[in-house]
Amino acid sequence: MNKTTLLLFSTLCLAWLASGCINPKVDIPEQVAGLAPIYYDGDWRDIAAEPARPIRELFKIYYKDSILFAGESLQGIHVIDNTDPFYPQPVKFIRIPGNSDIAIKGSTLYANNLSDLVAIDISDLDNIRVLSRVENAFPGNGAPLPDGYFGFFECPEPNMGAIVGWAEKVLERPECWR
C-alpha cells in the first residue's frame, strides 16, 4: 500500500468511524442487543482442539450427555465435563473461528465457521476431525456492518486484527452506533 492509498484509507476509516460514533443520540443503555466485530488473524478455516482455558466472553451454551459446550464469542467452544454438576471440569477448547452457533447430533458437532458450515467429529476430543464443510452456507458475513443495520455495535479496535464479520451480541454500555 503506498502512502496516498494509506492516507485515503485511513481518512475513509476515520470518516466511517466518525459517522458511527460521534453522532449525538439516545442515552447509552446499560445492556443492549447489538453487533460486535469478528476479528481474525490467520487462517480462519483452521479448526483444532486446544487445552482448556478460562472463558473470557460467553455467547451461548449447549448441553449433551453431561457435557456443557460453552461458546466463546466467535472464537470456539469450551468443553466442560459436567458429570458432577457440583464440580464442572474444563476439558478442552475447540477453536472454531467466527463461530456463533452449534448443534450436536451423536458425536458430530455442527457449527458455523464464519460463513461456512462444518461437521466436526468430537468422539475423541484429543483428535477432532472436520468431516465436511459447506462453503458459504451462510452468506452475508461481510466486513462492513450489515446493510440496513441501524443500532449499537462494539467499537472496532484496530489492534485486534482483521474484521472478518459481525455477530449479534448483548453489549454493555456500547459507545458506537449508527
Partner: protein, 252 residues
C-alpha cells in the same frame, strides 16, 4: 494356573473400572443435545435447521461426512431464534413468531404466524401454548409502542395462534420451559420462575436477583443459567427450594 487366571481377571476388572472413572466426559454417538432459547441452530431427525437474519436454512445431515444443503427459505427480516417441537419449528422474529411444519421429506413449510409490535423476542412452546418474550428495553429495533412483555399464545389450533394472556416484565431475554414451570431471564434483573399451569393467571414462584441471566436450559432437575459474567447451575428438583449447585466464572 487357575489362580493366575483369576488374578488376571481381577486385574482386568480393576483396570476397566479405573479407566471408566477417568474417562467421565464421553459423548454418546446417539441423540441430540439441548440449546437455549436464543439458539439459531437446531437438529430434528436427519436435518439441521438454522436461521440467520432473514432466512431459514435446512441441511440434510444423514451423513455427517457429506452435508447436503437443501433449502434456504426467505422468511422476512429480523429472524432471531429457532425452537423445535413435535415436527414444528417456531421462529422468534422481531415482529412475532413464525410457525413452520417439517414435511415428511424434511423441508419446512410455512403454517402460520403471530405478529406483534417490533421488539426482541425468543419463543419456547409446549403442546398447548407458546411463550414469547417481547423486550423493548435495550432492544435496538424496538418499534413505537413496544413493551417488555411475556405473551402466552394458544397454539392448539396451530393454523391460527391466539394470544391468551400478556404479562408485564422488566426486560425479558431468553426463557425455558419444563412442564408447568417457566424460567424467564431478565438480564441484570435476574431470573424469574413462574408456575404457568393456568396461563391466564401465572404465579411468580421465585425471583433470583443475585445473578445476571440472559438465557436458560432446563434439564429435568438441573437448570443452566447463562449470564455475561457466569454460568450458574441450579437444582430445581424441589421447586420450592431451588438451590445453587455451582458457578462457572466468565471473564476472570
Amino acid at each position: 494356573m487357575a489362580r493366575t487366571t483369576l488374578f488376571l481377571l481381577l486385574l482386568t476388572a480393576l483396570w476397566s473400572c479405573a479407566e471408566s472413572s477417568n474417562d467421565a466426559a464421553s459423548i454418546s454417538d446417539s441423540g441430540t443435545g439441548t440449546g437455549g432459547s436464543l439458539a439459531r441452530f437446531t437438529i430434528v431427525g436427519n436435518y439441521l435447521y438454522t436461521v440467520d437474519n432473514t432466512s431459514l436454512h435446512s441441511f440434510d445431515i444423514s451423513q455427517a461426512a457429506e452435508i447436503k444443503p437443501r433449502e434456504t427459505i426467505y422468511v422476512g427480516e429480523g429472524v432471531e431464534t429457532i425452537f423445535p417441537l413435535n415436527g414444528f419449528l417456531f421462529l422468534g422474529t422481531r415482529d412475532g413468531m413464525l410457525i413452520y411444519q417439517i414435511l415428511p421429506g424434511g423441508l419446512p413449510q410455512f403454517v402460520s404466524n403471530y405478529q406483534h409490535v417490533v421488539s426482541c423476542d425468543p419463543v419456547v412452546a409446549n403442546n398447548q401454548y407458546a411463550y414469547v418474550t417481547l423486550r423493548a428495553s435495550g432492544c435496538r429495533q424496538a418499534g413505537p409502542g413496544a413493551a417488555d412483555l411475556l405473551e402466552i399464545i394458544d397454539i392448539r389450533y396451530i393454523q391460527d395462534p391466539q394470544v391468551v394472556a400478556s404479562y408485564s416484565m422488566d426486560s425479558p431475554f431468553g426463557l425455558g420451559l419444563d412442564g408447568q414451570t417457566l424460567f424467564l431471564c431478565e438480564g441484570a434483573g435476574g431470573l424469574k420462575v413462574f408456575d404457568v399451569a393456568n396461563p391466564r393467571d401465572i404465579q411468580l414462584l421465585h425471583h433470583f436477583t443475585n445473578f445476571n441471566a440472559i438465557d436458560v436450559i432446563p434439564l429435568g432437575s438441573l437448570l443452566l443459567v447463562i449470564g455475561p459474567d457466569r454460568i450458574v447451575q441450579l437444582d430445581y428438583s424441589n421447586i420450592d427450594d431451588i438451590k445453587v449447585v455451582s458457578e462457572i466464572a466468565i471473564g476472570v
